[in-house]
């Protein structure tokens, strides 16, 4: 396996780089889209249930099917990497919008009332009090979305753009296990690193969680 890596260093690194971009760009897009969506679901409680239902339906569409249906919907070519990015963004939003809404709803009412009494207006209260307190729930959702994005990218290899998935199809065509094992290990490793990074970000952003845990 080490041998394979050494002989195909360039190929593997290129696949890895593509994999990271294809998996993480949708995460960023997903965060940007789902924060306002989740907020709307809390601000207007009537929207919450329809939002959850639509998200559930979108999330249940198998990835390969979504990859190839998208060209009809957004007018891309069938073998375009844009399909992968958009599809994974849809999954991320479907998961995160609900998590953001649930996270904001989980914030203790007395805390938001206290903030209001201290003179926080809605927007400042949202960013200064509610969102930080919702972070543990939101980041838990983000971990799931990021890890599953990283594992889903490789399905894209079936339509020609799949990062490390290219190693899978190559190994399968040659009936040669090494590239597949390298690809699987790198993909799992990448998911593990991304997951760990989010945990570290959560620790840095929610210092009070550790403080109160220490006191008990």
């Amino acid at each position: 396996m080490i041998d394979y890596l050494q002989r195909n260093q360039e190929l593997v690194l290129e696949a890895l780089g593509e994999h990271v971009v294809l998996a993480l760009l949708p995460v960023l897009i997903g965060i940007v889209v789902s924060l306002p969506l989740g907020y709307l679901g809390v601000r207007f409680p009537r929207l919450y249930q329809p939002m959850v239902n639509v998200c559930g339906i979108l999330y249940s569409i198998p990835s390969l099917a979504l990859f190839v249906i998208l060209p009809v919907v957004i007018g891309t070519k069938v073998l375009s990497p844009v399909n992968i990015v958009v599809a994974l963004s849809i999954y991320t939003v479907a998961l995160l919008a609900r998590t953001v809404a649930d996270g904001l709803r989980s914030v203790d009412r007395t805390l938001t009332d206290a903030a209001t009494a201290m003179g926080y207006r809605r927007i400042r209260r949202l960013f200064g009090v509610e969102l930080p307190l919702a972070l543990p729930v939101v980041l838990a959702g983000l971990r799931v979305a990021t890890v599953s994005n990283i594992s889903l990218v490789s399905v894209g290899a079936l339509i020609g753009v799949g990062g490390l998935g290219a190693l899978f199809t190559r190994g399968f065509q040659l009936f040669y296990a090494e590239p597949i094992i390298v690809g699987v290990l790198l993909s799992v490793l990448l998911a593990g690193i991304a997951d760990l990074l989010i945990v570290l970000v959560q620790r840095a952003l929610t210092p009070w969680a550790r403080l109160s845990a220490g006191r008990v």
């Binding site: 069938v78 079936l158 199809t169 699987v184 799992v188």
Partner: protein, 229 residues
């Protein structure tokens, strides 16, 4: 949008080989088998870990580890190592069912109030009765959540498995891509997506009907509806 393949009645003839109903049926068959095997393995293990608390590290991390496994890589690795055929694919699909079912069974058992289990013991229930009549039914809502995501995962992966020779609806996608026949690709994608959505809704309904009304709050609601004294 070219939907000629999807709406061609020839492709819906249940008697014709490779028609959409036949592919749908085989797709469901493979998925059901993998779900059955996976659940038969994961459920007892999850119940054991949840009941005894031993090996909880395994149960907690199984879900995450399973999610990070690239399905296509797993499929192609199994086939490359074990050869073409149904068995390696079924093994791969079963492997994907185990983590969500195991983790959710454990999480469901952990989510219930310890005092409920104590009460059951105090009433003189044997350990097996506590497990089967208290812990398992109360863990069902969370467990069903895991089972539903396992089912979706299997439907999606069985589609991808057409790339390693499995039958089922993925054939339309993979063959269509190979033949540059987008109409066929689209037909497969639409039917697979519809199958997944319908299956998830159906499992949701089943979940509502098998979970005890005392847990979902439906029983409480009907009681509240009675006029207060």
């Amino acid at each position: 949008m070219d939907s000629s393949y999807l709406f061609d009645p020839e492709h819906w003839d249940p008697g014709a080989a490779g028609s959409i109903p036949q592919l749908l049926l085989s797709h469901l068959g493979y998925s059901a088998l993998a779900l059955l095997f996976g659940t038969l393995i994961a459920l007892p293990v999850g119940l054991f870990i949840g009941h005894t608390g031993r090996g909880s590290f395994l149960a907690i991390n199984a879900g995450n580890a399973g999610r990070s496994l690239p399905t296509l890589g797993l499929l192609m690795l199994m086939v490359t190592l074990l050869g073409l055929g149904l068995t390696p694919v079924l093994i791969a699909l079963t492997v994907l069912v185990i983590p969500p079912v195991l983790t959710s069974t454990y999480a469901g058992m952990r989510s219930l109030d310890a005092s409920v289990v104590d009460a059951a013991r105090g009433m003189g229930m044997r350990p097996s009765q506590v497990l089967l009549r208290v812990e398992f039914p109360m863990a069902l809502p969370v467990l069903m959540g895991g089972f539903r995501s396992a089912a979706l995962q299997v439907i999606a992966t069985a589609t991808v498995a057409a790339a390693v020779g499995l039958g089922g609806l993925g054939r339309l996608l993979i063959d269509g891509l190979a033949l540059n026949d987008y109409s066929r690709v689209l037909a497969g994608a639409v039917v697979v997506a519809a199958l997944a959505i319908v299956l998830d809704l159906l499992l949701g309904l089943i979940q509502r009907s098998i979970v005890s009304p005392g847990l979902t709050g439906r029983a409480v609601r009907t009681r509240r509806a009675a006029p207060a004294p």
